[in-house]
């Protein structure tokens, strides 16, 4: 009896000590996948961006509220013609290997990013930069080939982060961020520790661990059992169940990612705006948002999401199958038609479920859509084909306007110059008025003028129904209640800079 209680006591002590050191020590975040690469310029996915955002920092920072703050740059000035930008580099910043951050490192890092030989996927963000010059130890001058209003927004993109050049950053990621790299067990976990020489307020935790857990059932179980503090991408059906757990809360933070199904605007019958409008009326976006996504999304009223500079609500296509049938009849398809809906499977929140729901709603107005799913890479390849060879009439995609500026969300997706494979305009939408508006908006330095230009462009895009507009996504993240200060960023990154564990 006595021995039994002694054992219990010592067990309690041990677990107490363990949980204490656990609480002080390491925040564990379970993500859906392993980072593809720790070099911030080499990866294109948000799990990689989340990890690299703790190791590397950008010149400017996009706050969760959507404003742009100076970060590694402490200030800047612009010349009157808008072509020369001068950045003051923050003093007292050091890399994890002890090297102080100076203008030289910034120049080297930016040069690396825009070097065509490196062929980074996001190089297009800064292609307007013609040269980078060091003026003195803490001043850098950036010259542009032409005026470019979203420059600062683009410098907040995680792939433009300032890195220590000349290293294989995948093996030895050396940056200036609040955490430094410890180890990466591929396919399993990345371990970081607090960087004691960090220039700003040091994090309240000693370590940070990212787990790669693709199975959502497993990922949710980790946060339920306390083996992880944070599990991302909660399936909508698990929200209520997890919230019923006294130690877990599901956070619901809007994302700048818009989900849509684009029409191939050059292909019969999608080249008729009436057909595109009919499909917009035929799909019950509200029902999908409520019943397939558990109410955890926002039905779109513009091609970009709220929280993005330039967003204005421009309309809605309320569910109206009668009107859809009338429009189809008017366009010469009274009995509907057959088509193929391409859908990713597991890329976006409930993507295949949404596609199946749309398939069944389209059937009600006579449109017989076959669902075609492909693996993600194959999917991108299939949709990235010039108009004359393109076989995709309808396809679901999402676009995260991660710079927080409508230029990134509209120019790349609707400008005629951006038709695939040269850009990301997979719908081959083309309208010279929209082109002119978008061109003007990316050069004009006046924010108020830009907002109006974007509103005008989006109105045309909406009325012509370039896409089947669906919703903007929400990030559903399960967080243990002893975690304080986690930032769930609208750009789909999870930031532990200010986290403390109770």
């Amino acid at each position: 009896m006595f021995r039994g209680s002694l054992r219990t006591l010592s067990l309690l002590l041990i677990t107490g000590v363990l949980s204490w050191s656990f609480a002080q020590g390491t925040l564990i975040i379970a993500q859906g996948t392993d980072p593809t690469n720790l070099d911030p310029s080499l990866s294109t996915d948000s799990p990689s961006a989340t990890v690299s955002s703790h190791i590397f920092e950008t010149l400017f920072e996009l706050t969760p509220e959507g404003t742009i703050e100076p970060w590694l740059a402490s200030g800047y000035t612009v010349s009157a013609d808008g072509l020369t930008w001068t950045f003051d580099i923050r003093q007292g910043v050091t890399f994890h290997d002890g090297t102080p951050l100076t203008a030289n490192e910034v120049k080297a890092s930016l040069d690396r990013f825009i070097d065509p030989d490196n062929a980074y996927t996001f190089r297009f963000l800064l292609t307007r930069i013609s040269e980078v010059n060091v003026l003195d130890t803490y001043t850098v001058e950036v010259k542009l080939a032409s005026q470019f209003a979203p420059l600062l927004a683009h410098l907040t993109h995680s792939s433009t982060a300032i890195v220590m050049t000349g290293l294989d950053l995948d093996e030895t990621p050396v940056g200036t961020g609040p955490f430094e790299f410890v180890s990466w067990e591929r396919g399993q976990r990345v371990d970081l520790k607090r960087y004691e020489g960090y220039w700003a307020e040091k994090p309240g935790i000693e370590g940070l661990r990212f787990l790669a857990v693709p199975e959502s059932t497993t990922r949710m179980a980790l946060v339920e059992t306390g083996e992880a503090h944070v599990s991302v991408r909660v399936p909508p059906q698990d929200i209520a169940r997890l919230n019923a757990n006294p130690n877990v809360t599901v956070e619901n933070v809007s994302s700048v990612r818009t989900i849509y199904i684009y029409f191939n605007n050059t292909m019969e019958p999608m080249n008729d705006p009436r057909v595109r409008q009919a499909i917009n009326y035929a799909v019950n976006k509200e029902d999908i948002a409520e019943f397939v996504l558990g109410g955890a999304v926002r039905v779109s009223d513009a091609p970009v999401s709220p929280g993005v500079f330039g967003y204005t609500p421009v309309g809605n296509y309320d569910y109206d199958p009668e009107r859809a049938r009338a429009l189809l009849a008017e366009a010469g398809y009274p009995d509907g038609f057959s088509t193929t809906l391409y859908s990713p499977n597991g890329r976006y929140l409930q993507d295949i479920q949404i596609s199946e729901a749309i398939q069944s709603q389209l059937a009600e107005v006579g449109i017989d859509a076959t669902i075609e799913t492909l693996e993600w890479a194959a999917y991108l390849a299939k949709t990235n084909v010039p108009a004359e060879e393109n076989e995709v009439p309808l396809a679901m995609l999402g676009w995260g306007t991660v710079t927080g500026d409508a230029d990134y969300g509209l120019f790349a997706l609707f400008h005629t110059s951006q038709h695939v494979p040269d850009g990301s305009n997979r719908s081959f939408y083309s309208n010279s008025v929209v082109d002119a508006l978008l061109d003007e908006a990316r050069s004009n330095p006046d924010p108020a003028v830009r907002e109006q230009l974007y509103a005008d462009a989006m109105q045309i895009i909406w009325d012509e129904a370039a896409w089947l507009f669906l919703h903007s996504e929400t990030q559903l993240v399960a967080v243990r209640d002893n975690v304080e200060g986690l930032v769930i960023h609208p750009t789909e990154r999870y930031l532990a800079h200010k986290v403390s564990l109770r």
């Binding site: 067990e185 591929r186 857990v213 199975e215 179980a221 693996e375 890479a377």
Partner: protein, 306 residues
């Protein structure tokens, strides 16, 4: 013995060559431009040309194949299009984890399979025998991933006995090893049972029984030793099957092995890694079979002359 060993090794060579042909053909037969496939989806025209040059994709097929084989023997399997790392370094990281899981599964299969088989063989057609045989059949009839997910829900989430996922301590190994070992366990139990039955009906066991030796002692001393010889072969074959079965188990339990690497790479169309992983699994399987053959020939010299 030397002659036998040599003959076995020589027979394995065409298989390895065949495996290489299949792996080599994968990229060439897949729809699309092999250079594009090897360069990855995001590659630009310039990179694709570079890859075409590097792998000599304009050369004749036999020349390409020679180059591929030479590369394999020099440890050059190319670079992952997804992670931009050398394929060999990824394989070296993940393969030991798969071996660990497969060994764990073999241990589970033996520890449960052999006693169950013996138990069943002692009273053929009894309710115990029937239960073991039915259990073994259910074991091979169950979709592995369903069993794994149920195991997670029951033993990790509800009971909290084992960690949900990941690799590290012995406790992390239990559920994945059990899941992966399930069908091998069933096969080993059946094998043990039938070879026990065969031995138990042989003359020397009957004689021993007639002499009045304690029944259990007979079983353990004589019968079991003889009965386990064919079981050794099954273990060898099962080990290969486990390497392949790991593809599903590893995905369920987030086990960082070659199987989950293979699945991720297929879904990302990362062909260099797919080629490397398939080659590694197949060659390991051939090697394990070769070793089993040799060990078996050593234990039982009669089979050398078959």
């Amino acid at each position: 013995m030397l002659q036998y060993t040599l003959r076995r090794v020589l027979i394995a060579i065409p298989s390895i060559l065949g495996v290489m042909i299949i792996v080599f053909a994968m990229v060439r037969l897949a729809p699309g431009d092999p250079a594009q496939l090897l360069a990855g989806e995001f590659a630009d025209a310039e990179t694709i040309e570079l890859i075409r040059e590097r792998f000599g994709l304009n050369d004749s097929m036999p020349r390409q194949f020679t180059r591929f084989v030479t590369g394999v023997f020099q440890g050059d399997l190319g670079e992952s299009t997804r992670t931009k790392r050398l394929v060999t370094s990824d394989l070296a990281t993940f393969f030991p984890n798969t071996l660990e899981l497969a060994l764990g599964a073999i241990v589970v299969a033996l520890v449960f399979g052999i006693p169950a088989g013996i138990l069943a063989s002692l009273r053929p057609n009894s309710p115990i025998d029937l239960a073991v045989m039915l259990g073994a059949l259910i074991g091979v009839s169950m979709p592995v991933f369903w069993f794994g997910l149920l195991a997670i829900l029951i033993f990790s989430v509800q009971l909290g006995w084992f960690p949900v996922a990941g690799r590290g301590t012995l406790r992390h190994l239990v559920l994945p090893a059990l899941t992966l070992g399930l069908s091998s366990m069933a096969i080993i139990a059946r094998m043990t049972r039938s070879s026990m039955l065969e031995v138990l009906n042989q003359d020397f066991v009957r004689t021993a029984r007639a002499k009045g030796l304690f029944w259990r002692a007979i079983v353990l001393k004589h019968a079991l030793r003889n009965a386990l010889v064919p079981v050794v072969t099954v273990i060898g074959l099962q080990f290969g099957a486990l390497l392949a079965g790991a593809v599903i188990t590893e995905t369920v339990f987030t086990w960082p092995g070659i199987g989950s690497l293979l699945v991720v790479s297929i879904l990302a169309r990362d062909y260099p890694v797919v080629q490397g992983a398939v080659l590694l699994i197949a060659v390991s399987f051939i090697a394990v079979n070769l070793i089993v053959d040799l060990v078996y020939g050593f234990i039982d010299p009669r089979i050398r002359y078959d």
